[in-house]
Symmetry: none
Subunit: 229 residues, 2 copies
Amino acid sequence: MLNSSTDPHLEKGIVTQLRGYLAQIDLADDGRLPPERELSAALGVSRTELRKALDVLEAEGQLWRHVGKGTFMGSRPLDTFADIAALARRSNPAEVMRARIVMEPEICRAAAFTATPEDIAEMRMCLTRSRQAETWRQYEAWDTRLHRTIAEASQNTLLLGLFDTLNAVRRAVTWGRLRTEPVKPLPDHHSFAEHEAIVDAIEHRDIAAAAAGMRAHLQTVERKLLDRQ
Amino acid sequence: MLNSSTDPHLEKGIVTQLRGYLAQIDLADDGRLPPERELSAALGVSRTELRKALDVLEAEGQLWRHVGKGTFMGSRPLDTFADIAALARRSNPAEVMRARIVMEPEICRAAAFTATPEDIAEMRMCLTRSRQAETWRQYEAWDTRLHRTIAEASQNTLLLGLFDTLNAVRRAVTWGRLRTEPVKPLPDHHSFAEHEAIVDAIEHRDIAAAAAGMRAHLQTVERKLLDRQ
DNA sequence: GTTGGATACCAATTTCATTTTGGTTTATAT
DNA sequence: ATATAAACCAAAATGAAATTGGTATCCAAC
């Protein structure tokens, strides 16, 4: 009862030992620390005792664990809002338009840097087809494809992915408005000229005009959208 | 030149043959049809010719294809590029920084419009805590929280969701860089002053300065990152 | 009797090699 | 010229094996 090995407060010693070890080691970017089996060996304690110490730190919120994954410093990654269905439920058409106005002009600016002749040819095809559209559905298909071609032309997988996410939310959001528009796009539909101005700017590598054109276009779309409600 | 096998319109025949076959067969729930190698054998045409016919149907939007996955009837599912893990696999640190430079300044501009006093108070707390950080991990935690607080202050669920997606990809991307930095952030670390300029601009509703400050900050981060490689 | 250590086992997850698949190129033949 | 076959590539799916946190069991020490 007198030697330290039976001291009931020994576990507390392991906790402090562990704290020191964790402060000292330089862990990976993801905050993952060595598996329990290695850690117990490195600290010279049994796995059972190490787990008790880890339980304490986990209760303090200093780390989190998951079977098969490992043990990680910091707080458990919060449920990201990246789920499209959840996003669409929380969002609304006004937010979608605001997000488009934030993102797409800058994506368009980047595209003006990097668009290839093939990209521009596809944009031109979208322009032609959208003018020829016989129904609003067809028009929207070519409109969507044009905007996505611009995002592709940015040559950035990640930006394209974010654009796709935004687009998926846009389609999933309940717009609540009924189509009271004419059965097919009229020849003087505002988007035609705006789209062409954007593609022209991209083709001439006029990055400022490309961004400005896209912003103006989306602001027109936003205005038309909100007028109707 | 006279027999039908050299008829230049034969390919059109293959398209119709394929249409008939697709209308006839009972495809799986996911709309997947047999791989090209099987399909060409079943239809008794070469894979090259089959692919031409598939190109036509794809251009019509009747089916979509993806390497490794297969060919599917109908339109491409919404969440194709929205998966974080897939994005992280495809992307890289340079793309992540470019995407941040595209998105965050505009989010910051929006935040300068809408930030509440509570938002700004939290930003100031992040500034203080990041200055007090004893390790790089602590610093990064407060840095991340500052940037997310700014995104929250935009009052736009969708923008916040896109920001979270970007952040998740950032954490998942393999940076491959070794930590050669000092053990703790030095008092003259460039980010401190830059962060404070951004929060100041937001507080004074100087939307142009907010966006410019964020852009300058991220460009500095990008430069430091690429220097090191 | 209680405590701690070693061991074995479980299920979730990752890892890695293999296979499959659409996309592309090359050589050959008609 | 055009079509075909074959080979090759990279993305993705697949499946076996290893890894990892969680749990139960048995045993020794006191």
